[in-house]
C-alpha cells in the first residue's frame, strides 16, 4: 500500500542529517523551556510582548538571551542611536530638479501605492520645483494594516542643497534593505532610532522639506511595545514623529556646509533642522491624546465579550481603520513645553485618556525629545532674516513668488517645477534659476557632501542640543514649510493574527455600540480630528484620526507667505479628507455626520490661526522666539472651541495669535493622493476573525510552576509533558498549559483548548469594574 511505503520512507529512511537536525532542535527546545522558566515574569512579558520568544526549538538559548538583552537595552540604545543611520531605506533617490516636473504625479503615486500594497514597504521621494515630497508606505501583509505618509515641503533652500542632498543619498545607499530590516525586525526596538537618523539626511539634503516618515512606522512599533504595547493606534503616529525629528537634524548639518559655501550664511541651513525638531515635540502630545482612543476602545472590548449577547454581534468583526493626517506645525520649543503642559492640564474629554496618559510616554524619552527640539534653533540662528522680509502681500501665490524671487536674487533659489500641490505653485522657482544654480552648485556640491558627513554628528546633537538650548540666541531661524500627510489605514480586527504569533504587538481597538463618536480637537497648533464610527449592520468600526499640526515658519518675511502656501495645501488636504469624511459619515445616521462633513472647513479655519503671527516676521534676528500661535490653539469638538483654544494658548514672547476669518474652501481639486484613502477604505474586507484576550486579561490569569506531584502532566497544546519548573498557566476552568503555549492561543481565542469554556468570563469580572 502506498501508505506503508511512504511511511517507511519518512520514518526509518530518514537521512542522518535530518536526524541530527531534529536532535539539535530538540536540544534547542529544551533550552527554550529552560530559558522561559528562568525568566522573571517581567522579562517573560517583555519578550513575549515584543514577539521575541518565537517558538520552542526555533532559536538557541544564546539567541534568546541576546534578544532579551537587546530589548532591555533598547531604550538606552535609542538615545545613542543617532549615530547609526545605516538602516534607512531610500528606494528612490530624489529626482533631479529637471525631471521633477511630472504632471502625472498624483497618479503615479496611486500606482505606486497600489504596488506598495502588494509589496509591503516602500519609500518614495520626489521633487517638484521648490516642493519636495516623500512618501512612505508600510504594509503589514498579515494584518492588512497600511500606513502611508507623505510629506511635502516647500523648499526655500538653495539648489545647492538639493545637490548636496543627492550626494548624500548616494552615500547613504544602504536604504532598500534597511526597510526590510525594519519591517521584519519590529522586535529590534532599539534599532529604530538609527533608521530614522539615516532617513534624515536624505530629506534635508534633497529638500529640507522632505521629511522621511517611513522610519517612523518601523520605529513606532517598537516604541509601542516598549512604552506600552497596549496603545495600538495612537502610538505608531507618535513614533513616527520622532523619526522625523532625527531626520531633520541630519539635514541641517548637511545643509550648512552648502550654505556656507554658497553664501556665508551657514546659519541659514540650520534653521531647518530646528524646525524639524519641533515636530517631534509636537508629536508627543499627540501620543498622549491618541491614547485616549485606545483606552476607549478597550472598555468596549471588555463589553464586547461574547457573554453579552447583544453586543456580541458588534464585536464580531470590529475593523478599526485609522486615517491620520499629520501636518505638523513647527512650534517653538519653549512654547511646546508650555503647550504640552497645557494639554496635560486640560482634562481629556474621556476619562480614559487621563488614566492612559501617564503610562504612555516614558518620561525620559520625552525629555530627550524636547531637548532636541530646542537645540537646533539656537544654533541655526538667523538665517536670512533679511531675505525673509521680502514683500509679503498679494495672493498666496504672489507672496510665494515674491519670496522666491527674493531668494533668487540672492542666488538661493532652486529650480522651479510644478508643485505637487497646485496652489503651492506660486512658490515654485523658475527652472532657469535651477540650471544656473546647478552650474554654480557643482562647486558647492562637494562641500555639501562634506557636510553630509557631518550629519551623523548632527544626530548626536541630542547632547549638544541640550547645551545649545541653553545658549539660545535670539535669531530668526529659517524653517522650510513642511506639510506632512500621514495616512494611516489600519485595521484592527480582534481575532486577527496581525503579527502572527505575537501577543504583544496586538492592539485591540474596538468601538462601542455608540455610533459616530466624533472628536475634533486641536493641539499645539495642530488639529486632530478623530472620528470613529461603528456600523451596526456590518459590524464594522472606523476610527479615523486626522491630525493636522501645522508647522509654522518662523521666518519673518517668509513666514506669512509660506504660511499661506501651507494653508492652501492644508486646505487641499483637508478637502480631500473632507470627502473622505463625508464618505464615511454619510452612511451614519448620527448627527455627527454634519460635523464630519464640515470638518474640512473647520480645519482650514483652524489652520488659519497659525498664520496670525505674520508680524513677528519683521523682527529679524531678535525674533529668535517665534510665536507658536498655532501651538496654543486647541479646538475641541466644537468649532467655537477653537477660538477659545486660541485664547488659552499663550502667545510666546514675540508672537501674537490672532484668529482669522475662516477661509472658504474653493479648491476644486483635492490632492490626488487623497483618493488613496478611499482606495484603502474600499479595499477593506470583512473577515470573520476569532477574538482573543488582551494581554492584561491573559496576565491576570494565574500562573504557577510545575511540580512533580501534579496529576496532569501533559500540556495539551504542545503535547509535551511538563518538566520540573515549567511555568504553567491555569485557566478559570482549572485546565493548565504551558504559559507560552496558552498565551499564544489566548491571544487569538477566548476559550479553553480543552473544555472550550470561555476564559473571559472570569477575566472580565476581574478587570471590569
Amino acid at each position: 500500500m502506498e501508505g506503508s511505503d511512504s511511511l517507511e520512507q519518512s520514518g526509518s529512511d530518514q537521512p542522518e542529517s535530518q536526524r541530527r537536525r531534529q536532535l539539535d532542535r530538540l536540544d534547542r527546545e529544551e533550552a527554550f523551556y529552560q530559558f522561559v522558566n528562568n525568566l522573571s515574569d517581567e522579562d517573560y512579558r517583555l519578550m513575549r510582548d515584543n514577539n521575541l520568544l518565537g517558538t520552542p526549538g526555533e532559536v538557541t538559548e544564546d539567541e534568546l538571551f541576546s534578544r532579551l538583552q537587546q530589548i532591555k537595552d533598547g531604550p538606552e540604545q535609542q538615545n545613542n542611536s543617532t549615530s547609526a543611520p545605516s538602516t534607512e531605506n531610500v528606494e528612490d533617490p530624489v529626482e533631479p530638479p529637471e525631471n521633477s516636473e511630472d504632471p502625472a504625479n498624483g497618479d503615479s503615486l496611486l500606482d505606486w501605492l497600489n504596488t506598495v500594497r502588494r509589496t509591503g514597504n516602500t519609500t518614495r521621494t520626489g521633487h517638484r520645483g521648490n516642493q519636495s515630497w516623500r512618501a512612505v508606505s508600510q504594509t503589514n501583509p498579515n494584518s492588512g494594516d497600511f500606513r502611508f505618509s507623505l510629506e511635502i515641503s516647500v523648499n526655500r533652500n538653495l539648489a545647492e542643497q538639493q545637490a548636496a542632498a543627492e550626494g548624500e543619498q548616494e552615500s547613504q545607499e544602504e536604504s532598500p534593505e534597511g526597510q526590510e530590516v525594519v519591517a521584519t525586525g519590529e522586535q529590534l526596538v532599539t534599532n529604530g532610532d538609527p533608521l530614522v537618523s539615516i532617513a534624515d539626511p536624505q530629506v534635508s539634503i534633497a529638500d529640507p522639506q522632505v521629511s522621511i516618515e517611513e522610519p517612523q512606522v518601523s520605529i513606532a512599533e517598537p516604541q509601542v511595545s516598549i512604552a506600552e504595547p497596549q496603545v495600538s493606534i495612537a502610538e505608531p503616529q507618535v513614533s513616527i514623529a520622532e523619526p522625523q525629528v532625527s531626520i531633520a537634524e541630519p539635514q541641517v548639518s548637511i545643509a550648512e556646509p552648502q550654505v556656507s559655501i554658497a553664501e556665508p550664511q551657514v546659519s541659514i541651513a540650520e534653521p531647518q533642522v530646528s524646525i524639524a525638531e519641533p515636530q517631534v515635540s509636537i508629536a508627543e502630545p499627540q501620543v498622549s491624546i491618541a491614547e485616549p482612543q485606545v483606552s476607549i476602545a478597550d472598555p468596549q472590548v471588555t463589553i464586547a465579550e461574547p457573554q453579552v449577547p447583544m453586543e456580541t454581534e458588534v464585536v464580531d468583526e470590529p475593523v478599526v481603520e485609522e486615517l491620520a493626517v499629520i501636518v505638523e506645525p513647527e512650534l517653538e520649543p519653549e512654547l511646546e513645553e508650555v503647550v504640552s503642559q497645557d494639554i496635560f492640564e486640560e482634562p481629556p474629554r474621556s476619562p480614559a485618556t487621563l488614566t492612559v496618559q501617564p503610562p504612555l510616554s516614558p518620561s525620559p524619552r520625552r525629555g530627550q525629545r524636547r531637548a532636541r527640539s530646542r537645540s537646533p534653533e539656537p544654533r541655526r540662528t538667523r538665517a536670512r532674516t533679511a531675505r525673509s522680509r521680502s514683500p509679503l502681500n498679494l495672493d498666496q501665490q504672489d507672496g510665494l513668488r515674491n519670496l522666491h524671487n527674493a531668494h533668487g536674487s540672492q542666488g538661493l533659489n532652486s529650480a522651479a517645477n510644478t508643485p505637487l500641490v497646485p496652489q503651492v505653485e506660486g512658490s515654485s522657482r523658475t527652472r532657469q534659476h535651477v540650471l544656473s544654480r546647478q552650474s554654480t552648485a557643482d562647486s558647492d556640491v562637494q562641500p555639501s557632501r562634506a557636510g553630509a558627513e557631518t550629519v551623523p554628528e548632527a544626530q548626536n546633537m541630542a547632547s549638544q542640543e541640550g547645551e545649545a538650548a541653553g545658549g539660545e540666541v535670539g535669531a530668526a531661524g529659517r524653517r522650510p514649510p513642511t506639510i506632512m500627510l500621514d495616512l494611516q489605514v489600519r485595521r484592527v480586527r480582534p481575532g486577527e493574527y496581525r503579527q502572527r504569533d505575537s501577543i504583544a504587538s496586538r492592539t485591540r481597538s474596538r468601538s462601542q455600540n455608540s455610533n459616530n463618536t466624533f472628536l475634533y480637537e486641536s493641539e499645539r497648533g495642530g488639529f486632530r480630528r478623530t472620528f470613529s464610527r461603528s456600523e451596526r449592520a456590518g459590524v464594522r468600526t472606523y476610527v479615523s484620526t486626522i491630525r493636522i499640526p501645522i508647522r509654522r515658519i518662523s521666518d519673518a518675511g517668509l513666514g506669512e507667505a509660506t504660511s499661506m502656501a501651507l494653508q492652501s495645501m492644508i486646505r487641499q488636504i483637508m478637502t480631500g479628507f473632507g470627502e473622505l469624511g463625508y464618505l464615511m459619515d454619510s452612511d451614519s445616521d448620527s448627527s455627527d455626520s454634519n460635523r464630519g462633513a464640515s470638518t474640512p472647513a473647520d480645519l482650514a479655519e483652524a489652520l488659519n490661526n497659525p498664520d496670525a503671527t505674520p508680524a513677528a516676521s519683521a523682527a529679524p534676528v531678535a525674533d529668535a522666539d517665534e510665536p507658536p500661535v498655532a501651538a496654543g490653539v486647541r479646538a475641541r469638538t466644537a468649532e467655537s472651541d477653537i477660538d477659545e483654544g486660541l485664547a488659552t494658548a499663550p502667545p510666546p514672547s514675540g508672537g501674537r495669535a490672532r484668529p482669522r476669518p475662516p477661509i472658504s474652501l474653493e479648491e476644486p481639486s483635492s490632492l490626488p493622493f487623497l483618493r488613496l484613502a478611499h482606495f484603502f477604505l474600499l479595499n477593506d474586507d470583512d473577515e470573520d476573525q476569532p477574538q482573543g484576550l488582551t494581554k492584561e486579561q491573559i496576565d491576570n490569569l494565574s500562573m504557577r510552576n510545575f511540580g512533580e506531584s501534579d496529576a496532569l502532566t501533559t500540556c495539551s497544546v504542545c503535547i509535551t509533558e511538563y518538566a520540573e519548573g515549567n511555568k504553567l498557566r491555569k485557566l478559570p476552568c482549572s485546565h493548565e498549559y504551558h504559559v507560552h503555549c496558552i498565551d499564544r492561543w489566548l491571544s487569538e481565542n477566548s476559550t479553553c483548548p480543552i473544555c472550550r469554556r470561555a476564559v473571559l468570563v472570569s477575566a472580565n469580572r476581574e478587570s471590569v469594574v
Partner: protein, 194 residues
C-alpha cells in the same frame, strides 16, 4: 517550531496506535503535508472504498486547525466537489470548534464519523443534502456508485493505477491549494458551509 515538534509526536502516535480504519503518513519530504486514508465504514454507502485525504498543516498549527481535503471524490452532503469538508473541527472559533487539544488523529476520526453520519442541516452541497434528507435511497445509490467508481476501483486496482492517478491529483490539488492559499493570504478564509 511548535508545529514541528508537535507533528512529530502526532505522527508517532498515529503510526503506533492509529485509530481504526485510518492510516496516516507524511507525504514526501514535506513536513507540512500529510496524507491519510479513511476506510469507508461498513453499513454506509462508502463501504469498500478507501478515501484519501490530504492534510495541510499550517505554520501556526496547533493554534490553527489543519486543513483537510478529500482527494478521492466522494458523494456526501458535507463534502464538495473539490474535496473540501464542512466540519466545525476544521475551523477556528468562534465559527468552528478547533482547539489545540485536538489533533490530526481526532479530527480524522471525526471525519470518519461524518462520513457515517452526514449532517444535512449544515450542508456544503445543497442538492446532495436535500437528496439525503428527502430521497435517501437515491442518495445512497449515488454515493455507492461514486464509491465504486472512485474509491474502490483505484485502490483495488494495481499499484500502478494508484501511482498514475495520484500524481495527477496531486498536481491538480496543488494548484488548487496554491490558489487557495494565495487567496487566503489576501483575504482570510471565510469558511462557511453555505
Amino acid at each position: 517550531m511548535q508545529r514541528a515538534s508537535r507533528l512529530k509526536r502526532e505522527l508517532q502516535m498515529l503510526s503506533t496506535e492509529p485509530p481504526p480504519g485510518i492510516t496516516c503518513w507524511q507525504a514526501e519530504e514535506r513536513i507540512d503535508v500529510i496524507r491519510a486514508q479513511i476506510v469507508g465504514g461498513t453499513g454506509t454507502p462508502y463501504e469498500g472504498g478507501l478515501f484519501s485525504l490530504e492534510i495541510n498543516v499550517p505554520e501556526r498549527y496547533p493554534f490553527e486547525p489543519p486543513k483537510m481535503r478529500f482527494l478521492t471524490p466522494i458523494y456526501h452532503p458535507n463534502i464538495d466537489n473539490s474535496g473540501r469538508i464542512c466540519h466545525d473541527a476544521l475551523k477556528l472559533p468562534p465559527k468552528g470548534a478547533w482547539k489545540p487539544s485536538l489533533n490530526i488523529s481526532t479530527v480524522l476520526s471525526s471525519i470518519q464519523l461524518l462520513m457515517t453520519e452526514p449532517n444535512p442541516d449544515d450542508p456544503l452541497m445543497a442538492d446532495i443534502s436535500s437528496e439525503f434528507k428527502y430521497n435517501k435511497q437515491l442518495f445512497t445509490e449515488k454515493a455507492r456508485k461514486w464509491t465504486q467508481e472512485h474509491a474502490v476501483q483505484k485502490n483495488v486496482g494495481a499499484v500502478e493505477g494508484n501511482k498514475e492517478n495520484t500524481p495527477d491529483q496531486k498536481a491538480s490539488s496543488r494548484k488548487r491549494e496554491a490558489f487557495g492559499t494565495h487567496q487566503e493570504a489576501v483575504e482570510p478564509p471565510k469558511k462557511s458551509c453555505v
